[in-house]
């Protein structure tokens, strides 16, 4: 059966795209390698930006200005303008379908200040903003009868004889069967690649850049892949995120001597560099929110308190929180135009896997939840328009290709889990917060070396049913491709720009 629009990925961008493609008259099918409510979107805490002015004077122009400034000249002003102008509508829509936002005393959506913003602009739902948005979108999809198939892993995109993307080949994780899903248009909403840094990332273990790697393999262009955002405040031992709202509400950053050393509310790249510099001096870094008081912490940051207790054995009401910056969001991604169309006909992209050029060299907190709503909609509407206007051409099916996804046991001389961890640490050090040309080159050489040894790596589990060892090996191969792309792009950019910071030669 052929669907008009096939959406791969069921986080915020995928579900918004699905709702809008359906509303535009297209038949839709959503597939995800997890379950929809398990997507990375559920981890977004801080909020969604819109210049509503509910908590202080604000304007769309200020939102645009702040976003462009943080982007360091790499954003497309037209795209930023569209996103910021649409922001109030996006939040209004989320409110209209039942997202449980926190409210002000005068019954408006509550807003708070995040880094780099000139006003309290992030609409939030305690520190569960992403969770509540994602679940409400999921419920909305159910109400519209949108079919979502869980636990299907994207292997490759299929093209027809005219070279247009017309479906996807997936591995059904539960059965181990390879299946083809045909469609007139495909939307990738598969998320970012922060997990190339392995444990040095706040992200879900699923953020392995699958859609980006798959799209690149059939010729889609990727842009600005070297731009990776390091979030200043993750728990030191577990890389669990402590939301920026902790600093937005007045939290301090302290070194071992108990001194403040930076402006806590500068954009994330600046704060991360300031912390990194202190760490290199041998300091331990802490987030201090004790002065905000128990009542405030319990009301505004309940998750953070729970997680700090669990992973660091400390209570932020009474103790300092040990932190360090880790990879959090990837600005780079699949190149798209003003219709969310990629460079391949029939293929659209939205969300973190796409690069709409709205974040440039450094994303502002609160702009990613916004992006998934605004550009998820754009991708859905345009993919539907394309699909409904497309001629009905046969999908070219290359069944023989399935052989390369057959399990082969015995190729296990090098343990890929060890290599994955090694790459994560190597990239954190060499392709991290502060970069040097020689270290970038070293990382690239190592990735090329590891790729040449890929035939010595493999899986030891030979079950067809739910073989997560095999899935993780497939993800690992995507990680390798993304790593090569990230470090090659970084080498091409000699100068510092936002999150891509090159150490000055002395």
């Amino acid at each position: 059966m052929q669907t008009d629009v096939l959406i791969i990925g069921a986080g915020g961008a995928g579900l918004v795209a699905a709702l809008n493609a359906k509303e535009s008259g297209a038949s839709v099918l959503v597939i995800t390698k997890e379950y929809p409510t398990r997507s990375q979107t559920c981890m977004a805490q801080g909020g969604i930006n819109a210049a509503l002015g509910n908590a202080g004077k604000d304007s769309v122009e200020a939102h645009i200005k702040n976003t462009l400034k943080s982007a360091h000249g790499l954003a497309n002003e037209e795209a930023v303008r569209l996103m910021c102008c649409e922001a109030p509508n996006a939040v209004k829509w989320l409110d209209s379908i039942g997202v449980c936002f926190s409210r002000t005393k005068d019954a408006k959506i509550a807003q708070r200040t995040l880094g780099g913003a000139s006003a309290p602009r992030a609409c939030y739902a305690q520190d569960y903003t992403g969770l509540k948005i994602l679940h409400t979108l999921y419920d909305r999809c159910m109400s519209e009868g949108i079919e979502i198939l869980s636990e299907k892993y994207l292997l490759e995109l299929i093209k027809n004889e005219d070279g247009c993307v017309c479906g996807a080949k997936v591995l059904d994780i539960r059965s181990g069967e390879i299946q083809n899903y045909e469609s007139r248009a495909v939307i990738l909403a598969t998320g970012g690649y922060s997990r190339i840094y392995d444990k040095n990332s706040t992200n879900s273990t699923a953020s392995t850049g699958d859609g980006i790697a798959v799209a690149a393999r059939i010729g889609a262009s990727l842009v600005d892949m070297e731009f990776v955002q390091f979030h200043p405040t993750a728990l030191k031992n577990s890389s669990i995120l402590i939301s920026e709202s902790a600093r937005g509400e007045g939290g301090y950053l302290l070194n071992s001597k108990g001194e403040r050393f930076t402006n806590e509310l500068a954009p994330r790249d600046e704060v991360s560099r300031a912390i990194n510099e202190e760490i290199l001096k041998g300091e331990d870094i802490f987030l201090d929110i004790r002065h905000l008081g128990e009542e405030f912490i319990e009301e505004g940051l309940p998750q953070e308190r729970k997680l700090a207790k669990l992973y660091e054995n400390i209570d932020p009401v009474h103790d300092l929180i040990p932190i360090r910056p880790v990879a959090h969001y990837t600005m780079g991604g699949i190149e798209v135009d003003k219709n969310s169309a990629t460079t391949l006909k029939g293929l659209f992209a939205a969300g973190e896997c796409a690069n709409h050029r709205v974040h440039g060299a450094n994303r502002l907190g609160g702009n990613s939840l916004l992006e998934i709503v605004v550009f998820g909609k754009q991708a859905g509407v345009n993919a539907a328009k394309y699909a409904l206007g497309a001629e009905n051409t046969e999908c070219f099916q290359a069944e023989s290709e399935n052989e390369k996804y057959q399990l082969e046991s015995g190729k296990n001389e090098i343990d890929f889990y060890e290599v994955r961890e090694h790459i994560g640490n190597l990239f954190y050090k060499n392709v991290g917060i502060v970069r040097k040309k020689s270290e970038l080159q070293e990382a690239l050489n190592e990735i090329i070396d590891i790729k040449s040894k890929l035939h010595l790596m493999g899986v030891s589990d030979n079950s067809k049913v739910y073989n997560s060892n095999f899935i993780e090996f497939l993800e690992f191969q995507n990680i390798l491709e993304i790593c090569e792309n990230v470090v090659s792009s970084a080498l091409k950019r000699d100068e510092s720009c936002g999150a891509h910071y090159m150490e000055k030669l002395s």
Partner: protein
């Protein structure tokens, strides 16, 4: 530290030299260093994605928020088909959300929502769909069609929301295999990692049902079934 994990029908013992870590961290160490075939689901590591719910010593937990103890016995969730080891198939259980029509039916335009309104379903909208409550619910032993704790909490989350203009339709949907089938045993409340009490939500939905003219069918039957309300919706 030694733990046993239920795989197929037997328990397999693993030993790892660690202390003071979460069960998910331990399972990950076992999978990546000892036994690549051990199968479990995980995601965010921070208790919001609901992937790693499982049972430890007969109690539902999120592996990522449970500090593992020596001698722990780990099993998959109940009331759902086991796909492999600790991974279960949630599709049928999640489908109860759709059967219960757990969504906002009407689109709300420009309605003012106060802080008091917001508090009514703040905790219920924290649900992460981990399925712990579903696993702990004893009703499934006798009624496989029971809409279940998380779907009913989700109905409360929408039915109680000031932005839902057609509350009655929410209530109509949960009369059959719904609010009256719950035994109010409170197991769901005890295991919820988000502090949600589906039992309490079901009681509140019962009150709304009574106000809408429905009554407990077992109560009605014990009086000869004379009430004769037929609110059963067709799915």
């Amino acid at each position: 530290m030694k733990i046993t994990v239920k795989r197929e029908e037997k328990f397999v013992e693993y030993e790892v030299d660690v202390v003071d870590i979460t069960l998910l961290q331990l399972l990950t160490i076992i999978k990546t260093t000892q036994d690549n075939t051990l199968t479990f689901a995980s995601g965010c590591r921070s208790s919001v994605c609901g992937s790693c719910s499982m049972r430890v010593n007969d109690r539902e937990v999120l592996a990522c928020s449970y500090k593992v103890q020596d001698g722990d016995r780990v099993e998959p969730l109940r009331n759902v088909p086991v796909v492999r080891d600790l991974v279960v198939d949630m599709d049928r259980s999640y489908a109860f959300n759709a059967k219960a029509k757990a969504w906002q039916k009407t689109i709300s335009e420009g309605l003012e929502v106060t802080q008091e309104d917001e508090k009514i379903n703040e905790v219920q909208s924290d649900c992460i769909l981990c399925g712990s409550c579903y696993s702990a619910c004893p009703v499934y032993a006798v009624n496989e069609e029971f809409l279940g704790p998380f779907a009913l909490t989700r109905v409360w989350r929408y039915a109680s929301d000031i932005r839902e203009a057609d509350e009655k339709s929410k209530i109509d949907t949960i009369q059959t295999n719904g609010v009256w089938d719950c035994t109010l045993c409170n197991e769901c409340t005890i295991v919820c990692p988000q502090g949600i009490s589906s039992k309490t939500d079901i009681e509140k939905l019962r009150s709304k049902s009574v106000m809408a003219g429905y009554s407990d069918p077992s109560f009605a039957n014990s009086f000869g079934g004379g009430f004769g309300f037929d609110g059963s919706p067709s799915f």
